[in-house]
Amino acid sequence: MRKEDRDMDGQRKSRLVFSLGCLVTALALMSSASVAQKVTSEEPAGYLVFPKIVVDPSGGLNGTPRDTVIRITNTDGNNPRIAHCFYVDGTPRCSIGGGLDGFGACRTNEDCAPGGICAVRECAVINFDLTLTPGQPVGWRASEGVTTTGLCDGTAAGLPCSSDSDCPGSGNSCVQLGADDFGRVPPLGPGIFIGELKCVQVDRTTNITAGPGTPVNRNDLIGNASIYAVTPADSTVDVQSYNAIGVQAASEDGTTQGDTSMNLSDSGGEYAGCPAQVVVNHFFDAADLGGGRTVQSDITLVPCSEQLELNTVFSSVLQILVFNEFEQRFSTSTTLGCYRESRLSNLDRRPGQESTSIFNVNVQGTLAGQTVIRPVLSGDGDPGNGILAVVEEFHRTGNQRRSAAFNVHWRGSKNQADTVSY
């Protein structure tokens, strides 16, 4: 073979190899795009996060008893599914005596004994399992959990019970759930609980001694939380609802993952990566919305990376940009440990200084604002610094205080993975 022919042959081969490489790369990209999963507040997912669960049966926080109703549904109508869940306690507590409920829960240092500091120190975890039949919706009050085995019928239909004597009203009986019993859920309380609920779709719980189930590559769970403030004393019925944040598994082939460490990343992770930014439309605190209605907003922030049951607290720095209706930009920063619930005006100002906050209408001059929150990446990937959030609006009209919750918007993708392990 002549040298020119050999060169030509080599060029053809290299072109062929390169073309095949292009094709494979392109197909891989198209394939990855077609199955790209995301953090979502409206699609079924394999990992659910309820950032805010509140239980305050005695009304210690603001005078009105509060409770949360949690709903979780298996959207797979053909197969049972199992979820391994964690309550994460983010209740601020006094460093020394005092508090609002006999267990040290507090809002500010003033709720504590003199010299005491009110803060979230560690986020203790309680776990439990749910076994959901095909298409089964379940729900419970966070303060009561699920410690019963049936549901009442008659005029008390749907209320939890274990025997007929648990059912209020006359002639009502307790219908046992039997095969539809989805498991026991620990009650939160009797004191104040502020924290989050996380549920992972896992493979099994039949052999409890073998440890918790391992995450599976499925996206079948949806959930909602409704936070109530109810008292007959001043005729208050206030209900706010939000959708659980779903983190979708990257694969939906039903296989069991290798371990109980979940990698959240858009680049080859087991789950979708947490977003780069959280975007919130809100009214500035103390804004007058007309009709004698003023408003303030609270944001609850939780980390994407967590070592559940090890009580390890990572700290992240959050950069915050605020825009008003004049296109004017302000910025501030704050920190997040294992849980942060704050009035917007207290992200940059201490309690009592809210009127000078950049989240206050007295500073901004317009009713509506946009806030962009970006976690500062630590660089070493441990922790990943991702955040999730939910926002509540509290409206005051005269003596009436009503509220609404809503899910935030997400934007962008981080180049640093988050890890959740248990």
């Binding site: 292009c22 709903r71 959207t75 959708n243 009503r402």
Partner: protein, 346 residues
């Protein structure tokens, strides 16, 4: 040598183009938690006591022109009743949030006082809605000539307030992202022009008339609390050019905690509001066994809604004690699957 380099460049360009296309596809799925190019607010109400505060934000760093349509629900139950549309335009500067009360709209009045309801850059003249309005708001990103121009920078929320009781509920607008394609007035929600709409809607709900466990414990109830749910549905097929109605049927499958399935269907029109399980709805599959003809004996239930043409929707639950004091909460519906639709602009 030149051929070799051009082959490399062509190959790299091919891969880069596919990578961009793939990335675009991966990032632009529709939903209520990401900015988009078309915003759909399924539920906007203005009655004697209830009003809606609309919030829209330009999340981008350049000016954004927006063409909006109020779509009023049909005024009668007649099958051929139409939905009347009224349009207006907004101009949002970079990162600008804006808001208005539906009952008041928004004037162009640069001299508004600091902290007053209309303070800020005026986005444009927004017409007020008359009392009795029930319908939707749809907004589309356009360029300065009014032609569709997707930048995927819009996000929105609707706050429904009751000025009589002080109550409030809130939901996010459903956003559809521009994914490529042309710039004509037919917005194809097919994945190539704009992202698709969901094929199936999932609703976690309590059946009509069921007891509220928290009100029963904390409130004024004595087994007389009452939960009801209002569902509003807006078709993704919207023809603002011809005013053509979109009709169809929603098939549903309801399950309670005992896993008992109940199925059925109901019609939808250009805008549909249903009190699920109420006597007027005729849908006893959404009704508690506490009431005559009710089917569901548990407080927690889910419904899977599959329409013949794609829909978006919002659910608002009402929780009432025995004295009639009510708290409302709105939520965005869960979604799955994808289905094609078309929005036609004038």
């Amino acid at each position: 040598m030149r051929r070799k380099r051009s082959g490399w460049l062509a190959g790299v360009g091919f891969v880069a183009a596919l990578a961009l296309a793939a990335a675009s596809e991966g990032q632009t799925r529709s939903g209520s938690d990401r900015p988009g190019s078309i915003l759909m607010f399924p539920k906007v109400v203005r009655s004697a006591s209830r009003d809606t505060i609309v919030q829209i934000t330009n999340t981008g760093n350049s000016v954004n022109y927006v063409h909006c349509f109020y779509l009023e629900g049909p005024q009668s139950q007649a099958a051929n009743a139409a939905c009347q549309a009224v349009d207006f335009e907004l101009v949002l500067t970079r990162q600008q949030p804006t808001q208005w009360r539906a009952s008041q709209g928004r004037r162009v009045s640069p001299g508004d006082a600091f902290g007053s309801p209309q303070a800020g850059y005026d986005p444009g003249l927004i017409p007020p809605l008359p009392q009795g309005f029930e319908g939707a708001l749809v907004c589309v990103e356009v360029n300065s000539n009014g032609e569709p121009f997707g930048q995927n920078r819009l996000k929105g929320e609707a706050t429904i307030v009751d000025d009589g009781t002080g109550d409030v509920s809130k939901y996010n607008a459903f956003a559809l992202a521009k994914s490529g394609g042309d710039t004509d007035n037919n917005l194809n929600l097919d994945g190539s022009d704009y992202e698709t709409c969901p094929a199936t809607l999932h609703l976690n709900f309590s059946p009509w008339g069921s007891l509220d466990p928290v009100i029963e414990d904390f409130g004024n109830a004595n087994l007389n609390s009452f939960i009801s749910t209002n569902l509003v549905l807006l078709p993704c097929d919207l023809d603002f050019r011809n005013g053509t109605r979109t009709n169809g049927t929603v098939s549903f499958l309801v399950r309670d905690e005992f896993e008992s399935p109940f199925s059925g269907s109901f019609p939808f029109r250009c805008w549909t509001s249903i009190d699920l399980g109420s006597p007027s709805s005729g849908l006893s599959q959404f009704r508690s066994t506490l009431l005559t003809g009710g089917a569901i004996g548990t407080i927690f239930a889910q419904a899977q809604l599959t329409p013949t043409r794609p829909l978006v929707g919002v659910a608002e639950s009402f929780h009432t004690d025995q004295a009639g004091v009510t708290g409302a909460a709105a939520t965005n519906l869960h979604t799955s699957g994808s289905a094609n639709a078309t929005v036609r602009l004038p």
